[in-house]
Each structure stands twice: as structure tokens, then as C-alpha cells.
């Protein structure tokens, strides 16, 4: 055939296919009257159609093993091929010894290449074989035959759930019966730590007498694990996870390639039950990629459309299984089985005879039945209705304080009669004073009167003193009044374990802060938890009532992380708790230790959540337009106290006309200006941040959020990098590009480069990097490694990356020409930091001052210095130093300053009231952040 002929054939074929099948033959005859060879061609092509042409070419080739009938596998003789299942071919075989039929599943030989894989196969398969449960397919034997692994299993007659579902959806009661059996089988396996990970209708077998058996337990995991000797293997499960799961039943975490536990099986179970009830797949799209998208982002079509007869209680169970966040699903298959059983009993018409029959049974049985019924009812209420009682309605909150400004971080006295708190704006370290209030109606009393930043007040066990953190030491003040004094240096977030023992965080080096316990002399010290990151810090910690667990609140760099549950004995680093995507700033235990209360933000606002210890269900306790901050659990009454309020920040412009506000959003802020001005080069635009992401600023003038561009002339503003949580950025000298640092879901910052006119998508310049500064030739940035952060530079096209300064530092500002660095680095052995200016090429260092922030204006003509991140005082001042030579360091004494205020006495220095500013084109133009916070203590009843 030649191309011309094929075009002719194809064209006719097209036309034939448009016709009704009955008319095709006549149509071909008619069209090919003069061309019999064309007719033959078209007819042979049409004949190649078969029943399954829709499936033809929709799948890649297999990797199969072929076994001939009559082959012996140990003492089993292969009789015939039954079919091909999820993990290989299944043969019917004869067990001569016991005279019974068995099924032999021959697995892909690739499962067991090499001794290590073979050993693992046997280990995993044995664990699965140890499952002895009526709803799990029994495995009799495991072996290998010529290097090919196989399983000998019980021989079943019946069909898979898939085959049953092809015919029709199930009646709800039949579906519930099947579902209960599946859930029981899952529960038995999960109890032994075995997760299926590939549950689907093809893996569920319904025997002729109606029993459901789960097939292929533990096998999916085998295929996902990679041998250590496999160089091509991805280093994390991500890739294998995506490829391996059956797409329609994969859980969102499997789609994302994350670690999947038993809750992934619960998700798959939900998808199967949904399909059994509605006859439609829960997630089905034309392509697998779209299906994965639906799993991540969409809810399946409503039951009321597809299967209105399904009872609401059953729908709720399915929906609960299909929650996107594992934390919000049923946490165990036994809970699920229980909920389903309760449902089937409640709706079962056969329950009446069962009760009458019970009269004949022993008293104990009857008693057990009654208590079981009570439990079932409780569980039903818990699962189906409890969620409606939370969050606690605002009408039930009781206001305890009435300040016009803000209070934060409440703590109860040991007898529950007093509250200590800070009066200040910030929820981390805040300038402000320590207060106490006698409950219920006492007037708040101020205990301190100084200008330091403070954090985390807590009562001593005798109730006589309040300890609090002044970065990063513990101070103490008597409750009855008296002088505040430094009590324990290098100790923050301190709490008393009992009269003689303490738990607190201490700086081990740099800003790596670990959680320790010790006696009062600090002689016997023991580490409880050390954050993995070298810039990880535990800031707050809470011991469980049984003294076995600690909830640690931690920060990496200047970003809060998820809370973490760690064993008090420090034996393991523990696990993150609370909603999967939520950062967490404070926590508490219920007095009985059953609930962990968390102050978290899983969207745009901080609220109180709670999770059942240790990894149970998660509930939101407070909601609404306010944000809640801090948690004090009353030791007596069933209530918590938290600071409820609204914080608004806006960006202001200062210039020769005075001060005026520029932004209208409630959470507008400036990015860290250390490596770039927020103003465009022509001074016509301002770039600022809006918090629309689950970040939380550690201070009001260092924002985190979405980047917005504001036209100063017209006042029009728009988001220009939507979806990125940005903490700092730098504009290129030619004004065309922007380099910015954005925080990923896992908290890791990445430096991106994008064109400001958005003519191309942002691209990654450097992963694990922050603080970019554009210079004419390079982007300077801070590279985060496991050992610490180092200064690098790279060409803007990503080439020629090099480390330029040897010291491990904490924060970086780069002069606009790249010659000087203003670096913050730890003072050895002390919880203090030094700001230094480094001429990196000439290896010269000029100390500036302790605990200060310093940076250049974009034109290089000014150097700006203000108080450091941790030790910020009330009445902060910013110093603007005009430089005689652009891009140079300010002229300072060779050993630097002992106090930043000495700058005021230097020449060419202007003093500006307030914190960090974003410098504009002229010395008199700058942007700054104004904050208004109103926050008071409320008591929230719990149920």
C-alpha cells in the first residue's frame, strides 16, 4: 500500500463507520463497485474490530511469567489458569497431599530479584499470611519456583466485587453487609500493622455464600519498596506512589506521593462503598491525570442525584471515609466497622427475632448486648452528630478582660483561681507587660514595668511567682508584686514539671533550640527533643498529665511549624499532630489527657482545634471572624481560656507630604526589606504582602504572604504571584525581574525568579534558599543546608553557583552591588547575635552591634539599622545613616557599638520612630507597617 491509497482507504473507512452497522456492508459494496481491492482492504480492517477495541492501545505492555499446566510448585500441581489478578496470574492447583484444590498466584519475577528482595518478599508475605481472618483470603504457603515467587491460597468460588458491580449497584443493606465484612478484615490487618494500599473492587472477592474476602494484602507495599541496591530507584516514595496505586481508588496522600497509612485504605474503602451504592465511580475522569486531580480537589457527585435511596447516615459514613485530609477520616477500620454495624443493626428488620431469641441466652449475654447497644448508640452519636456540637457557638463565650488594646498568652495558676497573661500585640515575643487577674471578677494587676520583649508567662507550682521568657532567658516576678529578675539564662518557654524539676528550651548553637528537662540546679539535664533543622527552635512545650508525652511547638527559621507529639523520655523525635497543613503556635492538654488542644491555622486564621490523643480524630473548637491566640485549660471547670481578637495591619507611606495609608487589606505587611526595597526602581509602584496563606508573621513589620503590586498614582493593586507564600524579594537593577523567596508546603524556602510583567512563569533559581538580592550580575542568597545557612551567589540564569563566605550565619543583607554583606551570626556560648558587615572578597569584618538588623537602601546611599528580631523593645527606633560613598559600610568604631542607640550620636544619622522600614527613592521616602490589635481573654466552655 502507498500513502495515497491509504488516504483513500481511510476516507472510505471513515464514511463506513458513520453508518449504522446494518447498512455498512451494502454501503461498502456500493462504494467499491469498480475497485474490489479497496473493498477487501476496508472489510479486513473492519473485521479487525472486536468487542474490546475501545481498550485497544490504552495500556502499556506487561511483565508476565507464564506457567504451563502440569507444572509442579512444591506439592501443588498446576491444573489450569483461572485468571489474572492484580499481582500476577492465578492458577487452580491440586494439593495432592491433602486432596484439596488451592489457588496458586504466580507473582512477577521482578518482585524477587536478588537475595535482599527475596528476603523482603518472604518477610512481607509471611506477615500477610499470618493474618487469620474470615474476611481475608487465607495464604497457605509462600515459596519460589525457579526464582519466581508464588503464593498458595485457599481456593474460592464466586466472583470479584468488580464483576458484581458491572451488573448493578448494590442495595444499601447488602452493601452495608459487604462493607462491614471488608471493614472487619481491614481492622484485623491494620491491628497487625499491615496496610493494603491498593484496595479496589478487583481485590475484593465475594464467595458463592456471600462472604467477602480481601485479596492481595501486603503485596502493594512490596512493589512500592525499592531495594537499596537499586540506583534507578527514586529516593522517596513519591514517584512509586504515583505510578503504583490504582488511580480511581488512591487516596489524596497517595496521589501526592506521601506516606500512606491505614487511613489510605479507609479512603479506598469509601470510594468502593460509594461505587457499590451508586453504581458510579467516586472519581472518574477521562484521563488518569484528571482523575488524580479530582481525588485531590473534588467531592464525588452527590448521593441525592445518583442514589437518593441511600440513608443519610450511610452517606455520612462514606463521606467521612472520603475526607481529603487523613485526620478527618475514620481513624481506624474498627471504628468504621463499628459505625457500619450499628447502622445495619438499627435498620435491620431481623433485629426483633434476635432479641426474643436472646431471652433464652444467659444473663451475661443479655447484659453484654445491652452495653454493646449503648456503646453503639454512643458511637453513632459521636460519628454522625458530634461534629455539629463543635465549634462552640460564640454566644457561649464569656469575656474575662476588657482592654482597648491587646492581651495574649494566658496561663492558669495551679489552683485555677488566677490567670497570668501578657498585655502586648504580638503572639510570639511581644513588647509589653506581665499581668495577673483573680477570677472571676478581679481587676487585672500589672506586675512588670520595663521595655523588654516577653513571651510565655507561667505560674510556679506554689503559685507565688510567674516565670516568663525574655529572649532567650527566663525571668521571674513575684505574683504579690516585687522586682522582676533574671532567673535562668538561656532557657525559654520554661514550665515546672514539679517543685524541683523544669522543662525548657535552650540554644545549643546558633539558633538551634532544643527541648530539655533538668532539676533546679540545671545539673542533671536531659534532652527531650532536638529539631532536625539547624535553624529549628522549640519555643513552647506542654507535658501530658500522665507525664509520658510532650507537645512541642516549634519554629524553623522564622516560620512556625506543625505541633509535635514527642515522648517525654526523648526516645524518638515523635510525630507531627493536628491538621496536616496547619502551623501551630500553642497547645494544651485536657486534664484527663484524652485531648490535645492546638492553636493552629489551617487556612487563613488561627483558631483552637483539638485532637484525640495520640492520633485520633481532629475537631475545630472555635471558629468565626476573630482569631484565637493561646490556650489555658482550666484545671477545674470544663473550659479553656484564650485571647480572642482581631489584628489589622496596613502599609503606610511616609514622604514630604506626611504619612498616609496605602493598603486596604486587613493583613497587609511589608516583606523583610533587608535585600530589597519594596518600591519599584522608578518609585511608582510599591510591592507588599497580604496574608492569605497559613503563615504567621513573627512580628508585624516582617510579613509573610501573597505578593501584591500597588500603583502609587492610581491606588490600583493586584496580586502578582498568586499562590506563593513569600517572605522576602529583590527587584533586578534593570527593573524587569524579581527574585523572591517562597515557603513550600513543607516549610522549605525556595528562591524563584520571575519577570515583573508576568511574560513568563516563575522558575526556581535555587531550592532550599532564601534572602535573594539582585545585583547587576548575580543573585546573592542564603543557602540552607542541614549544617546551617551559608552565603552564595549565582548568575541569574542559574549558572556558576558558588559559596562566597565561610561562616554559618542566621540572616543576610547584601549591598546593592554585592560587595558587602550585613550578616547576623551567633555569639558563641550566649543566646545573643552579632550584626557584622563583611567585605567578603577582601575578607574584612566590621562588627556593628548585638541583636540588630542592618541593610542598605536600593540606591546604596543609606544604611538602615534597627533592633533585632527577638529582642525588640517598646518604642523601637530605626537609624538611617547617609553614606558618603554609596554601597559602603557606615563608619563605625573598629569594635562596633555596645548599644544601637550610640548610632544616634554619629553624624549624618536620622532617627525614625518605629520598626523596620522599606526605603524609597529619597532619604525622606519610606514605607512602614501600622498595626492595630484588639484582643481580650474569653472563657470557652467545652462539652
Amino acid at each position: 500500500m502507498n500513502p495515497e491509497r491509504w488516504q483513500q482507504v481511510k476516507e472510505l473507512l471513515d464514511r463506513v463507520l458513520q453508518k449504522d452497522p446494518a447498512e455498512r456492508s451494502a454501503f461498502v459494496d456500493q462504494a467499491c463497485l469498480t475497485d474490489p481491492s479497496l473493498k477487501r482492504e476496508v472489510e479486513s480492517l473492519l473485521a479487525s474490530r472486536s468487542g474490546h477495541e475501545e481498550d485497544f492501545l490504552k495500556s502499556a505492555p506487561p511483565d508476565r511469567v507464564w506457567v504451563a499446566n502440569g507444572t509442579w510448585f512444591g506439592s501443588y500441581e498446576i491444573v489450569s489458569l483461572i485468571g489474572a489478578g492484580g499481582m500476577g496470574e492465578v492458577y487452580r492447583a491440586r494439593d495432592e497431599r491433602l486432596g484439596r484444590d488451592v489457588a496458586v498466584k504466580v507473582l512477577p519475577s521482578s518482585l524477587a530479584q536478588g537475595p535482599e528482595q527475596l528476603r523482603r518478599f518472604e518477610q512481607e508475605a509471611r506477615a500477610a499470611a499470618a493474618l487469620n481472618h474470615p474476611n481475608i483470603l487465607t495464604i497457605h504457603q509462600i515459596g519460589t519456583h525457579d526464582g519466581v515467587p508464588y503464593l498458595v491460597m485457599e481456593f474460592l468460588e464466586g466472583s470479584t466485587l468488580r464483576e458484581q458491580l458491572i451488573k448493578r449497584p448494590m442495595q444499601p443493606c447488602r452493601a452495608v453487609d459487604c462493607a462491614v465484612q471488608i471493614a472487619r478484615g481491614l481492622a484485623a490487618a491494620h491491628d497487625k500493622g499491615i496496610v493494603h494500599r491498593d484496595l479496589k473492587p478487583e481485590n475484593l472477592f465475594v464467595t458463592k455464600d456471600g462472604r467477602v474476602k480481601i485479596l492481595d494484602f501486603g503485596l502493594a507495599k512490596l512493589t512500592q519498596k525499592q531495594g537499596p541496591s537499586d540506583p534507578a530507584a527514586p529516593t522517596v516514595g513519591t514517584e512509586s506512589g504515583i505510578v503504583m496505586g490504582t488511580v480511581g481508588y488512591m487516596s489524596p496522600e497517595q496521589v501526592r506521593g506521601q506516606e500512606a497509612d491505614q487511613r489510605a485504605d479507609i479512603f479506598a474503602f469509601g470510594a468502593i462503598l460509594y461505587e457499590a451504592l451508586t453504581g458510579e465511580r467516586a472519581f472518574r475522569k477521562p484521563t488518569s491525570i484528571e482523575t488524580m486531580g479530582a481525588i485531590l480537589n473534588e467531592d464525588p457527585p452527590s448521593f441525592s442525584v445518583l442514589a437518593p435511596a441511600v440513608p443519610v447516615a450511610l452517606r455520612k459514613i462514606v463521606q467521612r471515609c472520603l475526607e481529603k485530609a487523613p485526620e478527618r477520616r475514620f481513624q481506624s477500620a474498627s471504628d468504621l466497622a463499628f459505625a457500619l454495624e450499628a447502622l445495619s443493626e438499627a435498620g435491620s428488620s431481623s433485629s426483633a427475632p434476635r432479641i426474643s431469641k436472646s431471652k433464652k441466652l444467659s444473663r451475661i449475654w443479655t447484659y453484654a448486648a445491652i452495653s454493646a447497644a449503648v456503646v453503639v448508640a454512643t458511637v453513632l452519636v459521636t460519628f454522625l452528630h458530634d461534629r455539629s456540637s463543635l465549634p462552640v457557638p460564640v454566644t457561649e463565650w464569656e469575656q474575662l478582660t476588657d482592654f482597648a488594646d491587646s492581651v495574649t498568652q494566658p496561663a492558669f495558676s495551679p489552683d485555677g483561681r488566677m490567670l497570668a497573661f501578657l498585655r502586648g500585640n504580638d503572639t510570639f515575643t511581644t513588647p509589653g507587660q506581665v499581668y495577673v487577674k483573680l477570677l472571676p471578677h478581679g481587676n487585672p494587676v500589672r506586675l512588670t514595668d520595663d521595655s523588654t520583649s516577653k513571651m510565655s508567662p507561667v505560674f510556679s507550682p506554689d503559685g507565688a511567682n510567674i516565670a516568663y521568657t525574655v529572649p532567650w532567658d527566663t525571668w521571674s516576678v513575684p505574683v504579690l508584686g516585687g522586682q522582676a529578675r533574671l532567673w535562668l539564662p538561656n532557657a525559654s518557654g520554661l514550665t515546672w514539671l514539679d517543685a524541683d524539676n523544669l522543662m525548657f528550651s535552650q540554644i545549643s548553637s546558633g539558633n538551634h533550640m532544643e527541648l530539655v528537662r533538668s532539676d533546679l540546679s540545671r545539673a542533671h539535664r536531659q534532652t527531650i527533643y532536638t529539631p532536625q533543622s539547624s535553624i529549628g527552635m522549640v519555643h513552647r512545650s506542654y507535658l501530658s498529665p500522665d507525664r509520658k508525652w510532650v507537645i512541642a511547638v516549634e519554629m524553623t527559621g522564622n516560620l512556625w511549624q506543625r505541633c509535635r507529639l514527642v515522648p517525654f523520655d526523648g526516645s524518638t523525635p515523635g510525630t507531627p499532630i493536628g491538621p496536616g497543613d496547619a502551623i501551630c503556635t500553642a497547645a494544651a492538654w485536657s486534664p484527663d489527657g484524652k485531648w490535645m488542644y492546638l492553636n493552629t491555622n489551617s487556612g487563613r486564621a488561627f483558631h483552637i482545634w483539638r485532637q484525640q490523643f495520640p492520633n485520633g480524630r481532629i475537631e475545630q473548637v472555635t471558629s468565626g471572624p476573630t482569631e484565637e491566640e493561646g490556650i489555658a485549660v482550666s484545671p477545674e471547670t470544663g473550659s479553656i481560656v484564650t485571647a480572642v481578637g482581631i489584628r489589622r495591619t496596613s502599609v503606610w507611606l511616609h514622604d514630604s507630604h506626611g504619612d498616609r495609608t496605602l493598603t486596604s487589606e486587613g493583613s497587609a505587611a511589608l516583606a523583610d526589606p533587608r535585600n530589597g526595597s519594596p518600591f519599584s526602581r522608578d518609585g511608582k509602584k510599591l510591592y507588599y504582602l497580604v496574608r492569605r496563606t497559613p503563615g504567621r508573621e513573627v512580628r508585624s513589620d516582617l510579613g509573610v504572604g501573597e505578593l501584591w503590586e500597588l500603583e502609587l498614582q492610581s491606588g490600583a493593586s493586584q496580586a502578582i504571584m498568586p499562590g506563593f507564600t513569600i517572605s522576602n524579594f529583590s527587584l533586578s537593577p534593570d527593573g524587569s525581574d524579581i527574585a523572591f523567596s517562597a515557603v513550600g508546603d513543607d516549610g522549605t524556602p525556595t528562591v524563584w525568579v520571575a519577570s515583573l510583567d508576568r511574560s513568563s512563569s516563575p522558575r526556581v533559581l535555587e531550592p532550599s534558599a532564601t534572602s535573594p538580592r539582585f545585583t547587576p550580575d548575580f543573585v546573592y542568597y542564603l543557602r540552607r543546608t542541614s549544617a546551617g545557612a551559608y552565603v552564595h551567589r549565582v548568575h541569574r540564569d542559574g549558572s556558576g553557583d558558588e559559596q562566597i563566605w565561610h561562616e554559618k550565619i542566621l540572616a543576610l543583607a547584601t549591598s546593592p552591588d554585592g560587595r558587602y554583606l550585613a550578616v547576623t551570626l551567633p555569639i558563641e556560648g550566649r543566646s545573643e547575635w552579632m550584626l557584622e558587615i563583611v567585605d567578603w572578597a577582601r575578607r574584612r569584618v566590621q562588627p556593628v552591634c548585638k541583636d540588630a538588623i542592618g541593610y542598605w537602601s536600593d540606591d546604596g546611599r543609606s544604611f538602615i539599622a534597627t533592633g533585632g528580631t527577638g529582642k525588640r523593645n517598646t518604642g523601637a527606633l530605626t537609624y538611617l545613616i547617609s553614606l558618603a560613598v554609596a554601597n559602603s559600610p557606615p563608619e563605625l568604631p573598629p569594635n562596633g557599638l555596645s548599644n544601637l542607640s550610640q548610632l544616634a550620636s554619629l553624624k549624618n544619622v536620622r532617627t525614625i520612630a518605629g520598626g523596620i522600614i522599606g526605603h524609597g527613592g529619597t532619604p525622606d521616602t519610606y514605607a512602614f507597617v501600622k498595626e492595630t490589635v484588639q484582643r481580650n481573654l474569653y472563657r470557652i466552655p467545652l462539652r
Binding site: P3, D14, S44, P62, S760, R763, G798
Partner: protein, 193 residues
């Protein structure tokens, strides 16, 4: 895991290619090929026939790894898939050939077992036979061959294929139907003694 460092490189190459700079293909192909091969090697080893993802997922995965998750540029994506489909075909054929060579003499049928047994849920096809048939189809109609590559090896939908080849979806659909008929007949002819 962070994206590989070559991520922005790929994105940029794709952008340049889209803008008509066909010279970048020389730099792009080796990157994509290496990534696909790496994925394919670990993937083919544990492949399972009843999974609908397979090569399509692989290509998608390679795209995510190379171009970065946050690269939403659909045009880039279809261009990428255009390149990847051809490479994927080469990789699968190479794999099938080496496997066949390793097993020669074992009496392994050329046609996949399940295909021969006509087990309905199986949709396997012998890649070597398909590759031969595609070569012959390309001689008759290059565009149909491309359509099959994109649909089968990269898992693109009709719409995505139409976007990649800049032809109407109706045309893709028609050509896909007739190409499959032709391939099916060709494969049946070569595999039946």
C-alpha cells in the same frame, strides 16, 4: 523533595521551543530521555497490567519532575508530551526487546499471554509488534503515527492531542479510530502464524 536543578532549564527550553527556537530540541531531548529512562527502569520492573496509569503516568511524572510542579503552562505541557511520547515509545521498545532477548528459548509467546487468552479486562499489546506496525503506519501517514504515540505512549486525551498537534479534535478522533483499526489488523497478521 525539591525539584531537580534542571527544572527551570527544562521550562525555559520548552518556552524557547514554543517560541519557534527549534534548535533547543537538541538540548531538551537528552534531558527528557534521561529522566524518562530513569523512571521507566524502576517502573517497568514492578509494572502491573491492570493499572490504567502506566506510561501515561510515567510521562506525567517525568514532566512534574523536570518542569516543576508549579509550572502551570499548559502549552509547555503539550509540547513536552509531544517530545516525551516519542521517547517513551523508544524506551518501552528497548525494554521489551531486551526482555525478549533474555527470555528467548523459553517458549514465551510473542503475544502477551492474556491477550492470547482474550481475558476481557486485559488490554495488553506486544510493544515490539506495535512498534513495527507503527513504523509501517508512519510510512503511510506520519500524522496518524504521531497521534497514536501521543494517545498511547503519553496518555494524552483527544483534546490534548489536538492541542499538541494543532489540529481539530474531530480530526484526531477520526484518525485515531482508523489508525487503531489498521494497527490491530497489522498486529493480528504478524502474530498469527
Amino acid at each position: 523533595m525539591s525539584a531537580p536543578t534542571s527544572s527551570h532549564q527544562v521550562t525555559e527550553l520548552l518556552a524557547r521551543w514554543r517560541d519557534g527556537d527549534f534548535g533547543v530540541l537538541d538540548s531538551l531531548v537528552p534531558l527528557v530521555y534521561a529522566e524518562l529512562r530513569k523512571l521507566a527502569r524502576s517502573y517497568l520492573r514492578r509494572e502491573r497490567p491492570d493499572h490504567t496509569l502506566q506510561s501515561a503516568a510515567l510521562v506525567h511524572e517525568a514532566y512534574v519532575r523536570l518542569a516543576g510542579k508549579s509550572s502551570p503552562d499548559l502549552e509547555n505541557r503539550t509540547h513536552f508530551f509531544g517530545v516525551a511520547a516519542r521517547l517513551m515509545r523508544e524506551i518501552l521498545v528497548e525494554h521489551a526487546r531486551s526482555r525478549a532477548a533474555a527470555k528467548r528459548g523459553d517458549g514465551l509467546p510473542r503475544l502477551a499471554l492474556n491477550e492470547a487468552l482474550s481475558i476481557p479486562q486485559q488490554r495488553n499489546v506486544d510493544v515490539i509488534l506495535l512498534d513495527d506496525a507503527l513504523r509501517r503506519l508512519a510510512a503511510l501517514d506520519e500524522r496518524q503515527c504521531r497521534i497514536v504515540e501521543l494517545r498511547f505512549f503519553a496518555g494524552l486525551s483527544i483534546e490534548e492531542t489536538s492541542e499538541a498537534l494543532e489540529i481539530s479534535a474531530a480530526t484526531v478522533s477520526r484518525e485515531w479510530t482508523t489508525a487503531r483499526l489498521w494497527l490491530r489488523r497489522e498486529i493480528a497478521r504478524t502474530s498469527t502464524p
